[in-house]
Assembly symmetry: C2
Homo-oligomer: 97 residues x 2
Amino acid sequence: METSMQPMKENTVFVGNKPVMNYVLAVVTQFNNGAGEVSIKARGKAISRAVDTAEIALNRFLDGISKKEIITSTEVIDTDTGKTNVSSIEIILSAKK
Amino acid sequence: METSMQPMKENTVFVGNKPVMNYVLAVVTQFNNGAGEVSIKARGKAISRAVDTAEIALNRFLDGISKKEIITSTEVIDTDTGKTNVSSIEIILSAKK
């Protein structure tokens, strides 16, 4: 993947419709690779799965990591039938200082 | 309603499987009745709807109210087949100081 030109200030996991353990593994892997902070993002119905991802990763796999911030917002999406609003969530996990 | 014997430090709306506008109306009504703080709670798949409830209430109906805190946690539930974990969310809306 070509990401070298785009500096990422944080690692992000986008949660969709796959099984929750896929996303848990992605989060745990990023911390194991040295990330100090991982952001879990989701929209619409995947929001519940994003919360599951954070809870499972923290309770079962990650030591010394905690929830830093949870942000919810509304995004405007273009669809075939016009613009529609969809809720989104961002859960930021961070290594404890 | 008889609430005098039970001191409530905050008003709570539990979000389940009904249409989202039911919960939005419940939140808006509590603020209109003078609540300074309303807590929106949900578990499992209803978590997305709780976020929708907060976003719609704030963006369309409530003036001078903001998100105070968002808390996620894991609850242990007893089922027919044993104990299981379920994620939960609490979104606290508060009148701006």
